[in-house]
């Protein structure tokens, strides 16, 4: 489901918009990658503008070869203030990119809030630390430039913030290290890259990429990033969604369970305390009911209900380094995506595959 290159007219229009955004904000263009099978304007009508605290307008800017661009203004009433801003939404097939030049606050309280409200019809992407590495590698190869990092944020188990964040100190441009060094540093400390900001010394390229599906660029054209980088995020997202598709038992010919295995890179569950802490991580999962049937020795077994769309699945630690997620009667790809993202952010990064006992 990787998206097509944009038609020339389309590219010109978006490049023009984003250039204006960049000039106005003197900051970065922020892009949130999402997926939806529903037309975005329908989602706006049904899911967003019906909310009491959100108002707005939108208009279609351009439509060509199955891609549509909208310009949207929203106003969100918050407790003590009002958030206003505008953004573009580009839908190409099932990929939907929310693009804005507004400050980061608008990204966090506006676009991410909006995406949350449109869930499960709209699913926010995430990429793993290793996928970011692959994306940087292929981008660097495609544009034939070396990428250097100016800073990275790394996380360790249980997604603890502040103290786990490592910033490289700012030095002269010639002293910056290639992004691969950031990975070496993080891996040597058992950390995962959560976000990384890179640039080229020889071309107008400077951007940040985050595991939570956010991409920011500070110079260069939208078209370049769209064709070479967002397409990769979209590809990883689509692959993951495909893995989560039709997992519910009612979707199976013999109603059999169709489990997933999440394998970690170390034997974390050898420590009983970690098994018990995993229960705490599930307890912190938003919009869920969970029940612990067996709590920690020698394994953890619990059931989870996603209270947004009533998907349910069970989770069991499996051996010293894995967990098995077993979708129950009804289990949507959106719920599995949201849950796996929660584990990525709050437990640790793992590789997901089909489970075979």
């Amino acid at each position: 489901m990787a998206h097509e290159r944009l038609a020339t007219t389309f590219s010109l229009i978006i490049n023009q918009y984003t250039r204006t955004f960049l000039k106005m904000s003197r900051g970065a263009i922020k892009i949130l990658s999402t997926i939806s099978e529903v037309r975005f304007d329908d989602l706006l009508d049904k899911k967003l503008f019906g909310l009491e605290n959100v108002d707005g307008t939108f208009r279609k800017v351009h439509e060509q070869n199955g891609s549509i661009l909208w310009n949207i203004s929203i106003e969100r009433k918050m407790k003590r203030r009002k958030l206003e801003g505008n953004f573009l939404a580009l839908q190409s097939g099932e990929s939907v990119y929310l693009i804005t030049g507004q400050p980061t606050e608008f990204l966090n309280d506006g676009l991410l809030y909006l995406a949350q409200k449109m869930y499960p019809e709209l699913i926010t992407a995430y990429v793993t630390s290793e996928e970011i590495h692959e994306i940087l590698e292929s981008f660097s190869k495609a544009v034939e430039v070396e990428l250097f990092y100016t800073k990275f944020v790394a996380k360790k188990m249980f997604g603890k913030s502040a103290t786990d964040i490592s910033f490289a100190t700012k030095r002269e441009p010639k002293e910056y290290d290639p992004y691969t060094e950031a990975y070496k540093k993080a891996r040597s400390q058992g950390l995962w890259i959560d976000a990384i900001k890179v640039f080229s010394k020889s071309a107008p390229i400077k951007f940040s990429i985050y595991r939570n599906g956010v991409f920011k660029y500070y110079c260069g054209t939208f078209e370049t990033y769209y064709n070479l980088l967002l397409s990769e995020i979209s590809r990883f997202h689509a692959q993951r969604l495909k893995r989560f598709e039709n997992r519910g038992r009612r979707d199976q010919p013999k109603r059999q369970p169709n489990p997933l295995l999440m394998k970690f890179d170390s034997k974390v569950f050898e420590d009983v305390a970690i098994r018990k802490q995993l229960i705490g991580v599930i307890g912190d999962y938003d919009h869920c009911s969970y029940s612990v049937l067996y709590g920690g020795n020698p394994h953890v077994y619990l059931s989870i209900v996603d209270r947004i769309d009533n998907s349910s699945f069970s989770l069991r630690t499996y051996g010293p380094d894995s967990i098995v997620i077993v979708p129950q009667v009804k289990s949507t790809k959106a719920a599995l995506m949201r849950f796996s993202k929660h584990l990525l952010n709050n437990f640790r990064e793992g590789v997901i595959s089909n489970f075979a006992a």
Partner: protein, 342 residues
């Protein structure tokens, strides 16, 4: 004197332990089926849902698992216990029930439904096994109980470390007596290791044995697995017991017995669980439709729902006990009696 809070804590711990043990018992039963149902051994697992009756007076007996060996000429009736009572009176009662397995029984997986002879195997939890062996030795020597068949006790328990090649296992160990199957006795003496990690998928389909689980175990299965299958949204909804049973039958009980006469989950268990939901204000009976319930599924339970259900039901039990003998309790009993008569 024990305060009601201490009483509550003790009850909650006991109940949580019963739920864990029941979960383990399901794994144990599946593990036995897995080990003796698929590999070529002298002994074969026949069923976990048999329909047996004594040959003499056709009274029903309900073992938890059935094995056959010696080319199906001999069998083993197996009783699995998650826990055994402490007071001698009740423990002896349990054994008297087991004594009934000594009679010749019909229902085996043979053309005549009979075997030449059979043995009795009691699998009890490792925390109970020493006590049980001491008691039974004593009672057998005093003639209090008399098993007319070969009788064997083994203990089962999980191993609380991942030391068996990093796999999670249930161990079954010989404790007392023998079965008539020499190779099986040998296996018991060498410790049978059931690979629990290998049972992940099976547990998803078989969540019950024929033993009635603690009511909270069923409440959890209903709340987290069966209710979500019946409603698209997390909000209050009305449900019929038959619909709940259908989901349970369709997804959670694929044991294949001799004739599959029995279903592992019973309507009475579900009804009891639904009544408990009513008692803790998470459901309400629908007037004029006796098998229908309005479930307050929109209620958000912040914490572990197992803990929540256990706490609520234990509190209700304590309240009920405190009422015993009071005027209020008498009035309630009279009200129930008149409802029953109607």
């Amino acid at each position: 004197m024990e305060t009601s809070e201490e009483n509550l804590e003790q009850r909650k711990n006991r109940k949580q332990s019963e739920i864990r043990r029941y979960y383990q018992t399901v794994l144990l039963t599946i593990g036995l089926k897995d080990l003796f149902g698929t590999t070529a051994t002298d002994l074969r697992f026949v069923s976990a849902e048999p329909k047996f009756a004594t040959s003499k007076n056709l009274s029903e007996i309900l073992p938890d698992a059935v094995f056959q060996y010696d080319n199906d000429n001999h069998g083993i009736l197996c009783e699995i216990k998650t826990s055994m009572p402490y007071p001698d009176y009740f423990l002896l009662e349990e054994f008297r029930q087991l004594e009934r397995y000594s009679e010749d029984v019909k229902g085996w997986d043979t053309s005549t439904k009979e075997v030449q002879n059979h043995d009795i195997l009691l699998l009890c939890h490792v925390m109970d096994s020493d006590r049980i062996v001491n008691k039974i030795s004593d009672w057998i020597s005093k003639g209090e109980i008399n098993f007319k068949k070969q009788f064997c006790i083994s203990e089962w328990g999980t191993v609380e470390s991942l030391k068996f090649g990093e796999r999670d296992v249930i161990l079954i160990r010989h404790k007392f007596g023998e079965t008539g199957c020499v190779s099986f006795n040998q296996k018991l003496r060498e410790n049978i290791k059931l690979d629990v990690d290998g049972l992940v998928t099976q547990y998803e389909e078989c969540r019950f044995t024929r033993k009635e689980p603690p009511v909270e175990y069923i409440m959890v299965q209903l709340w987290t697995c069966i209710f979500p299958a019946l409603t698209e949204k997390t909000e209050d909804f009305e449900i019929n017991i038959t619909d709940l049973l259908k989901v349970a039958y369709d997804y959670y009980i694929p044991w294949s017995g001799i004739e599959g006469e029995y279903s592992q989950i019973r309507k009475t268990w579900i009804t009891k669980a639904m009544d408990k939901f009513c008692e803790i204000s998470l459901a309400e009976k629908v007037e004029d439709r006796p098998e229908n319930y309005l479930i307050y599924y929109g209620k958000r339970i912040e914490k572990n729902v197992t803990e929540y259900f256990v706490e609520k039901t234990c509190r209700k039990d304590i309240e009920r006990e405190q009422k015993i003998g009071t005027k209020e309790a008498l009035e309630e009993a009279q009200k129930r009696l008149s409802e029953f008569k109607q």
